[in-house]
């Protein structure tokens, strides 16, 4: 028999359709890049957003965060407190590690102790913990030294590792930096997560494949994920345009506009949970770098107010940040528990004459000079923001001498010393996100409470702001289990530091990601990138 033309066309169409179908069901490889590599496959190697969130694709936590950063059950189906100092976690039954072995309470106890053990950088999540032990095969019970309502929040970043695998490969602890031994878990992984580690070439590429036996229903349609570090931003953008990668994590602000014009690429922008702020030395009787002798102008609330209200964050957003910032007046961002929306209003800007008058009333009719420290490779446009601040303060007679330097030198200079004596700075810039707990208490404890060596509070309060009333409130909210009461304490404490002009919050910087048009993904505000929501169309 012979085909006529119409039949041939129809056959060809079917063949094409069939071909299209199979290729759709086949490879969904997702390639993406970031400026740096994941430094280790060990989920406790470093308390760093990128490492933690990358490895959470391989290692599931007990409790994970959803698209809106709310907690939801993962390896624990149920958790809670049986009394103020006792927590329980019920382990999800039927979960298997990537090697097929079942997850039990032993693995959870082992993982938690490993995260609190030598070589781990996660120990600060365990300050309140007294003992971790199992209660039967599927329940873990944790006793704390004092009531810790945030324990579950803290542990949402901790991945669970197979105990048998770690012991077999001599990786019971994280890598010991003082030894010359390779730790097996640095390059290999064994979790229960949605993806399994297929190949790890440090500094070159890391390949993940989906876990076919994952306990949860996958929301992604990927068959393979290839991650490559590409340090040079221009190369990263070129690779995205060329289609060599499908997504890049950090887009330099200067490239955002050109990428938006590319029809094949979409740019995603959202506020990050980190707040970038300025701090002032309110501790020393005399500033280190100033012409004012015998007194410290920053100790005067009116001086702080004049400076606060002379810094135009909207102008910084418009010019320096090219629109990519979200100005704020609080030390925490939306999405963090304890963010008080109605208190997040910056006071009106002062005219230069008004600010000068405030300074004159405070005893500085000719303004004053002060040194300022700033990093130049830590936050988006950090040095340029500081330069803008210098120009704005020059208008009110405060002559600021800026010293901008690389982060490793910068932090060593400005942070408080081991004995919590103040660092070498008068006026500085920092950014902070309560990345462990997603709760405002972390900010109070680390940045705003009075530095105290015994209680370990205020470790990063580099300016030494101190308000005993606020200290008491922060201590209360740490152990308060009644939510209504706790919220009232947070509101009161927030109002205290805002009214004191304790800090000058500037903005949350925007997270800018870019992807090819055919990629669907979720951009959470904590700058994590969960692969389990990625779809390739």
């Amino acid at each position: 028999m012979t085909f006529n033309l119409r039949q041939s066309v129809a056959l060809a169409a079917i063949a094409c359709a069939g071909f299209g179908m199979t290729s759709l069901a086949e490879a969904k490889t997702f390639k993406w890049a970031n400026s740096g590599d994941v430094s280790s496959m060990d989920p406790y190697a470093r308390q760093e957003t990128f490492l933690l969130t990358f490895n959470s694709n391989i290692y599931d936590p007990l409790i994970r965060r959803d698209k809106n950063l709310k907690l939801e059950p993962a390896l624990a189906t149920k958790w809670g407190q049986t009394d103020p100092t006792t927590w329980f976690f019920d382990i999800r039954p039927g979960v298997k590690f990537h090697d097929g072995s079942p997850l039990t309470a032993d693995d959870v106890v082992f993982s938690l102790n490993r995260a609190n053990g030598p070589g781990s950088n996660m120990q600060s999540n365990f300050v309140s913990v007294k003992e971790i032990k199992k209660d039967g095969d599927m329940r873990v019970v944790v006793t704390t030294k004092y009531p810790d309502p945030l324990l579950a929040d803290k542990w949402a970043a901790l991945g669970m590792m197979s105990k048998a695998w770690a012991e077999k490969n001599n990786a019971q602890n994280s890598a010991d930096m003082t030894k010359n031994e390779e730790n097996f878990a640095t390059r290999n992984a064994m979790g229960t997560g949605p993806f399994m580690l297929k190949e790890r070439r440090a500094g070159e590429k890391t390949i993940l494949v989906p876990n076919p036996n994952w306990w949860d229903k996958p929301e992604h349609n990927l068959t393979e994920v290839i991650f490559a570090p590409v340090a040079n931003p221009a190369t990263r953008i070129a690779a995205l345009k060329a289609g060599d990668i499908d997504m890049t994590y950090e887009v330099p602000p200067a490239d955002t506009e050109t990428l938006k014009k590319d029809a094949n690429i979409k740019v995603m922008e959202g506020p990050e949970t980190r707040v970038v702020y300025l701090g002032m030395d309110q501790e020393r009787p005399e500033l280190l770098e100033s012409n004012v002798k015998g007194k410290n102008p920053f100790k005067d609330k009116n001086v702080r107010e004049a400076i606060h209200r002379s810094i135009d964050v909207d102008a910084i957003k418009r010019t320096v940040m090219r629109g990519q910032s979200f100005p704020t007046n609080l030390m925490v961002a939306p999405g963090i528990n304890g963010y008080m929306k109605d208190l997040d209003k910056r006071p009106a800007l002062l005219k230069p004459e008004e600010a000068k008058k405030m300074l004159a009333d405070a005893g500085y009719p000719n303004g004053f000079e002060v040194g300022m420290d700033c990093p130049n490779d830590r936050y988006v446009n950090d040095e340029k923001i500081c330069q803008a601040v210098v120009a704005m303060l020059a208008k009110i007679g405060v002559k600021v001498t800026l010293k901008a330097q690389t982060r490793n030198l910068y932090f060593a200079k400005i942070l408080r010393k081991n004995d919590l004596s103040p660092g070498e700075t008068s006026f500085y810039m920092l950014g902070w996100s309560p990345a462990q707990t997603y709760d405002v208490h972390n900010v109070f404890e680390a940045l705003i409470q009075t530095p105290n060596k015994a209680t370990k509070k205020g470790q990063f309060n580099a300016g030494g702001y101190s308000n005993p009333k606020l200290d008491a409130l922060a201590d209360k909210m740490e152990q308060e289990t009644d939510k209504a009461k706790r919220d009232a304490e947070i509101a009161e404490a927030t109002k205290l530091y805002v009214d004191d002009f304790a800090y000058i919050p500037l903005h949350q910087q925007a997270l800018v990601w870019a992807a090819r048009k055919n990629i669907d993904l979720v951009q959470p505000a904590d700058n994590s990138f969960p692969l389990r929501f990625v779809n390739v169309k």
């Binding site: 890598a175 340090a231 190369t235 070129a238 690779a239 060593a412 010393k417 081991n418 462990q436």
Partner: protein, 330 residues
């Protein structure tokens, strides 16, 4: 001769020690690695404890001595950034850099030398002048710009070549190679051109001037008088006599290619030792920086030694001055 080599080796050790000491006294200026190693919530006490444990509070000479005594036992420590043994990190990255440098040198040699011969033979021809002018661009544009331009043209617009990375590699023992896969070979092209362009220009200009010189000599005239073919004269006699300086320069430049592949590797995200070094500087990763600097120091010491030996072989006067009884004259 042996005395000469021994003396040279002793001097080399002194040079390496000096490099190491200078490196260690400079490390304090790249900042405190601790802040990069720990999370923001790590307490000051824990930071200080780690700093003491790693010996970062000791003065630079003591840190250097400790590094030396460990290095002598083959122990370069763990990288602060990735917690992997430094020796292994460097060995793993070395093939990528060596293959890239090798291809760049080949490219420079096999394109640069013929171009030099051509421009030397026909110095007045318009195409020679054009090549000369174009080669000026090669020498005056910075590497990163050339790299980005190549990526833009061949990866973004033409989609012929990959924009970054090594492509598929094949593992042979501890060595990973690009040479056995199509994607690996394609990935080599752009970075090799970027890295080799400067050397190409250099070789072309060197060969050109040597050729101009040689073509004026008597034996070329005699060769012509004997009625030899142009081909035999140009390549058999003229080029051969220009090759001694070309070989010396190529050898020397190979060292430079390996040591200075840093920029090219960064632009193309090429996973070699140069990129490793840049990442380590950003992180204040002292063990890796120290090992890398000593390695590059060693490389240059070896190259210089080889060059000295070459001179020794080439220049009879040098031979008579060392070791022989005429030394007494000094």
């Amino acid at each position: 001769m042996i005395a000469f080599i021994l003396r040279r080796l002793l001097q080399s050790i002194a040079v390496l020690l000096a490099v190491g000491l200078v490196a260690f006294s400079l490390f304090r200026y790249v900042g405190d690695p601790i802040n990069a190693m720990v999370g923001q919530d790590t307490t000051m006490e824990q930071r200080e404890e780690l700093r003491t444990k790693l010996g970062l509070n000791d003065p630079a000479p003591i840190q250097f001595l400790r590094f030396l005594s460990n290095a002598a036992r083959g122990n370069f420590g763990l990288s602060y950034r990735t917690s992997e043994p430094v020796g292994r990190l460097i060995v793993e990255r070395m093939p990528a850099t060596l293959e890239l440098s090798f291809c760049a040198a080949l490219f420079a040699l096999f394109v640069g030398v013929p171009m030099g011969v051509y421009t030397g033979l026909y110095p007045k021809h318009w195409s020679s002048r054009l090549l000369q002018a174009v080669s000026l661009i090669g020498i005056s544009l910075p590497t990163f710009l050339i790299g980005i331009l190549l990526i833009l043209v061949f990866a973004v617009y033409l989609h012929w070549l990959p924009s970054f990375g090594r492509g598929q590699t094949v593992q042979i023992g501890w060595w990973t190679t690009n040479f056995l896969t199509i994607s690996g070979l394609k990935a080599l092209i752009l970075p090799s051109i970027t890295l080799g362009l400067f050397q190409l220009t250099l070789l072309m200009r060197l060969v050109r001037s040597e050729m101009l010189e040689v073509m004026r000599t008597d034996y070329i005239k005699f060769a012509r008088a004997r009625g030899l073919t142009n081909r035999a004269i140009n390549f058999g006699h003229a080029l051969k006599n220009t090759l001694v300086p070309v070989i010396t320069v190529t050898g020397l430049q190979l060292g430079a290619l390996i040591a200075f592949a840093i920029v090219t590797e960064t632009v193309f995200a090429w996973p070699g030792v140069g990129q490793l070094f840049i990442q380590s500087v950003q992180f204040s990763d002292i063990p890796v920086m120290a090992a890398y600097l000593l390695l590059i120091g060693l490389l240059f010491v070896l190259i210089n030694l080889t060059v000295d030996l070459l001179y020794f072989a080439v220049d009879p006067r040098l031979r008579s001055q060392t070791g022989g009884p005429r030394m007494a004259g000094h």
